[in-house]
Symmetry: C2
Subunit: 135 residues, 2 copies
DNA sequence: TGTACACCCTGTAGGAACTACAGACTCAAT
DNA sequence: ATTGAGTCTGTAGTTCCTACAGGGTGTACA
């Protein structure tokens, strides 16, 4: 590895918690820029790539599609030059994020109730399903 | 349709917001019980199926895998007889749900800041990526 | 009664987002 | 110079859907 702040895909995988194969897949899918290469053809990464990959991982875990994440990353990269466009895309995602938070809160409350009741040994009728019937 | 509280897969799809093909897929995958059939072989559903499907849809949207949802549904169905087991599984999911809420909150704050700044016409340096670097 | 026409059936093949090899090459340490 | 872990490309498999094709069902209306 030529420089101390440059590292291999294995190290990137370890630091980001993203599978090596998945990293290469994200590169093919255009979510990560093609990295520099060592003389022997090894991919060379930097800290900024760890940050970006962590973001992708978290966003995926929260149910965003790769397409949505591409949009969010474009926001971060400020590829959409127009402030108006940044505003609009941001607002759309904001609405979605808030809806997800609401639903998770509801799920949280219900799970907490179940867990507490179960700790007491009294299993309540399960309200998990009903909670999502409406919203 | 034999009875008024019994309906076809098309109606179920409409009421739950889940694609017809996906409903059949969930049945194959064992997330939905095999429904009753009309004399001609049509699937017959009831309101309880709408509830269950809505739950699956929401949970998927929140990033849970079908396997995790199976677990949650088992909790709801109380297939896991032991209260201790219900407690443990519930607690695991509760921890996960709370972590998701934390991350979404962070994302919400950042998006809100960006959107507000953009409404003023001043584009800030983007903190979206950094937000997920640590947790 | 028959005949449209929308709906449903099974089965299979595709897409998205990974994941897991195989077979060959690289790199660092000895 | 050699060994062994790590990486390369390419391809094939998995999960979770999604979209037909080709055929049967249900009902409404003439």
């Amino acid at each position: 590895m030529p420089a101390p702040d440059v590292f291999s895909i294995g190290v990137l995988s370890e630091r980001s918690g993203v599978n090596i194969e998945t990293i290469r897949y994200y590169e093919r899918a255009g979510l990560l820029q093609k990295p520099a290469r060592s003389p022997g053809g090894y991919r060379l990464y930097r800290t900024v790539d760890v940050t970006r990959l962590c973001f992708i991982r978290r966003a995926r875990d929260l149910g965003f599609s790769l397409d949505e994440i591409r949009h969010l990353l474009d926001l971060a990269d400020q590829k959409s030059r127009s402030c108006r466009r940044v505003h609009d895309i941001g607002l759309t995602h904001l609405t979605e994020v808030r809806a997800k938070i609401r639903r998770l809160r509801r799920m949280e409350g219900i799970l907490a109730t179940m867990v507490k009741a179960c700790a007491n040994g009294t299993m309540p009728a399960c309200p998990l399903l009903e909670a999502f019937a409406s919203a």
